[in-house]
C-alpha cells in the first residue's frame, strides 16, 4: 500500500489542473486520508501556467510545499520544462500528448504519454481530459479508489451539472485503459 503520494499537477489555466487536484483530495477525504492541496495561483490564471501540489497520506502532513514530487501530471510544455526534473527517481510522470512538443527524456522515472484531449473529444466532452489523466494516474498509483472519485464528483458537481457524471465516469475508466495501453506500448512513451 502507498502511504504518501506527493503529486504535482500542472498545465494551462483552464485545463482543469486545479480541479483535478481537488477531485483527488475529496476522494482521499472519503477514505479518511490526510490531504493537502496547494495551488500556485496568480495572474497566470490569465493564460499562463497553473499548478497544484497535492499530497495524500495516511499520516499527518507537515509541509504542503515541496520541491520534488513522487508523481507529475503534465498538461503543457512550459510545465513539462519546469517539472520534468522535479520527479523523484523511480517516480511517475504522466503527460497529455497533444500539448507536448518535447517529451521528457529521463529514463529513471516512469513516463506515460496519454492522449487525453483526443480521448475527451471522443467521449464528447473536451472538459474531461483532466479526468482521463486522473484515471491514468490512479491506474499507476491507486492512492484512492476510482469509485470514490466518482462519489466525490457526485458531491461537488452542482445540480445543473450532475448529468455530466456518466461521461466523467467513462473518462476515468478510459484513463485507466489508456494507461495500461501506454505501458504496453513503450513506443508511445
Amino acid at each position: 500500500m502507498i502511504t504518501t503520494q506527493e503529486i504535482i499537477i500542472a498545465g494551462f489555466g483552464g485545463q482543469g489542473v486545479l480541479s483535478m487536484g481537488q477531485l483527488l483530495v475529496y476522494a482521499a477525504m472519503l477514505e479518511n486520508k490526510e490531504i493537502s492541496w496547494m495551488p500556485s495561483y496568480g495572474p497566470e490564471m490569465r493564460g499562463g501556467t497553473a499548478n497544484c501540489i497535492v499530497i495524500v497520506s495516511d499520516a499527518k502532513i507537515s509541509s504542503p510545499i515541496l520541491s520534488k514530487f513522487d508523481s507529475a501530471l503534465i498538461l503543457n510544455q512550459p510545465s513539462m520544462d519546469k517539472f520534468a526534473d522535479k520527479v523523484h527517481p523511480g517516480g511517475l510522470l504522466i503527460y497529455e500528448r497533444s500539448t507536448i512538443i518535447n517529451p521528457p527524456t529521463r529514463t529513471d522515472i516512469e513516463i506515460l504519454n496519454i492522449p487525453a484531449v483526443e480521448e475527451a473529444h471522443r467521449l464528447g466532452s473536451k472538459q474531461v481530459a483532466n479526468v482521463v489523466l486522473l484515471g491514468a494516474y490512479l491506474e499507476r498509483r491507486p492512492v484512492v479508489k476510482p469509485e470514490n472519485v466518482v462519489l466525490a464528483l457526485s458531491k461537488v458537481l452542482p445540480k445543473h451539472r450532475q448529468h455530466l457524471l456518466p461521461v466523467n465516469e467513462n473518462a476515468l475508466v478510459r484513463g485507466k485503459e489508456l494507461a495500461m495501453e501506454a505501458m504496453a506500448e513503450p513506443s508511445t512513451r
Binding site: S36, M38, P39, S62, S63, V156
Partner: protein
C-alpha cells in the same frame, strides 16, 4: 468546484474560506473589506453565505474606507472583521492606530503577499514588523496570531475575536498567501461557541440617565495622552504576561532549534524529520502569538543550544525578536526566502547542516 460541500462532517476548504466560515460561526456581526489577491475568497465566501447569517457583509470602496467602517461598527459594539493582503493592510495603518488608541476590538486578517510595493501575489511573511511593532504611528501593539494550517485559519478567528474583546485591542491574524489558498481537511468549530461580551463603552445610543459614550483617540492634553499611553503599555504588559502561545517539537534534546512561524514552521517540521534521519538533533519552536512573543521561552532555551536558526519568508524580521530574547546567549542564524518564494524543507536542511558543520551558507537566495 464548490469547496463548501458537506461531504462529511469534516470539511475540505481553502484557508480563506475556512476563515470566512469560522467568522460566521464565531458570531461575527459585521465584515468590511476590499478585494485583493490572495485573500479575495474571504469576502467572496462571506457574500455567498451571508443570507444564512445575521451579519453585515459590505464591500467598501477601499481599504481606507473599510477600516474606518470597522472603526464605526466596532465602536458601536459589533464583533467586526476585516481582511486584506499586504498593500491593502498598509493603507489601514492610520485606522489601525486609531483603533488601538480608542481601544476598539476587531479582527484584522492579513494574508500576506510578497513585497515591498505591488510586489507579487505569492506568499510572504514580509509584514512581520508592520504587524508586531506597529506600522502605524505611535506606540501601540496588535495581538498577532500566526496560523500554520487551514484548521488554525478557522480556530484563530475565534481566538482573535476573544482576545481582542478581552483586551479591547485589535487582534491580527497574520497568515500568508499559501495558507489562504491551500486546501486541507478541517473540523469547523461549532457556531455560537464564542459568547458575546458586554460592551458598556459602545455607542449604541446614550442610555437614559447614564453618561453618553465617547469613542475617541484624541487626547489633546499631552498629560492625558500620556496617561492613555501608560494604560496601553500596561495592557500590553499584561498581554505579554498572560497570552503567549507557542508550540515546540523536539527541543528537549535539540542542539539546534529552528524558530519559525506560520507555514514555515511546517516546512521546518519536514526539515526536522530529514535532519533527525541524518542524526542532527534539531528541534522547532513555533511562536503562535507573534505579539506577545515567546521571548521568555527562547531565553530559557538559548544557553543550552549550539545555535538557533530563524527561518522566515522575509529578510529577517522575527529574527530581531529572537535576538532580543537570546541576548547573545547562543548564536542566532537566519535562513530566509523573500518576495513570494517559499523555502523548501531541503534548503532549510542545507542551512542547518552548514551551521552544524560551522560552514557558511547562503542566508537567503
Amino acid at each position: 468546484m464548490s469547496t463548501n460541500d458537506e461531504i462529511s462532517e469534516v470539511r475540505i476548504m481553502k484557508g480563506n474560506e475556512a476563515l470566512a466560515e469560522a467568522a460566521f460561526r464565531a458570531g461575527m456581526q459585521a465584515y468590511f473589506g476590499y478585494p485583493i489577491t490572495p485573500q479575495s475568497e474571504v469576502i467572496e465566501y462571506l457574500m455567498k453565505e451571508q443570507p444564512k447569517h445575521d451579519c453585515v457583509v459590505l464591500q467598501a470602496e477601499s481599504e481606507v474606507a473599510a477600516i474606518n467602517m470597522v472603526f464605526g461598527a466596532a465602536g458601536a459594539g459589533a464583533r467586526v472583521m476585516i481582511s486584506s493582503s499586504s498593500p491593502g493592510i498598509s493603507l489601514m495603518m492610520e485606522g489601525i492606530s486609531y483603533m488601538t488608541s480608542a481601544e476598539l476590538p476587531c479582527l484584522i486578517v492579513n494574508v500576506q503577499r510578497g513585497g515591498p510595493g505591488l510586489g507579487t501575489i505569492q506568499p510572504s511573511q514580509g509584514d512581520y514588523f508592520q504587524a508586531t511593532k506597529g506600522g502605524g504611528h505611535g506606540d501601540y501593539r496588535l495581538i498577532v496570531l500566526a496560523p500554520a494550517s487551514v484548521q488554525e485559519m478557522a480556530d484563530f478567528v475565534f481566538e482573535g475575536f476573544r482576545l481582542s474583546e478581552k483586551y479591547r485591542n485589535p487582534a491580527m491574524i497574520l497568515a500568508d498567501g499559501a495558507l489562504g489558498q491551500m486546501m486541507e481537511k478541517l473540523t469547523l468549530p461549532p457556531a455560537g461557541s464564542l459568547p458575546y461580551v458586554d460592551k458598556p463603552w459602545a455607542t449604541t445610543g446614550k442610555p437614559a440617565g447614564k453618561d453618553r459614550r465617547i469613542i475617541t483617540s484624541l487626547f489633546i492634553q499631552p498629560e492625558k495622552m500620556e496617561q492613555v499611553n501608560l494604560h496601553l503599555q500596561e495592557k500590553y504588559r499584561q498581554i505579554q504576561a498572560e497570552e503567549v502561545r507557542f508550540e515546540e517539537y523536539g527541543v528537549e534534546d535539540a542542539d539546534i532549534v529552528l524558530v519559525a512561524f506560520g507555514l514555515v514552521a511546517r516546512i521546518c517540521q519536514k526539515t526536522m524529520q530529514l535532519a533527525r534521519k541524518k542524526g542532527l538533533r534539531v528541534g522547532i519552536l513555533r511562536p503562535i502569538t507573534l505579539f506577545p512573543f515567546p521571548s521568555q521561552r527562547i531565553a530559557e532555551l538559548a544557553p543550552k543550544l549550539e545555535a538557533i536558526v530563524t527561518v522566515e519568508m522575509n529578510a529577517g524580521q522575527m529574527l530581531e525578536d529572537v535576538r532580543l530574547a537570546v541576548e547573545g546567549r547562543c548564536p542566532v542564524h537566519f535562513k530566509g526566502r523573500m518576495g513570494g518564494m517559499i523555502p523548501s524543507p531541503d534548503e532549510v536542511l542545507e542551512a542547518v547542516e552548514a551551521i552544524a558543520e560551522k560552514r557558511n551558507f547562503e542566508l537567503s537566495r
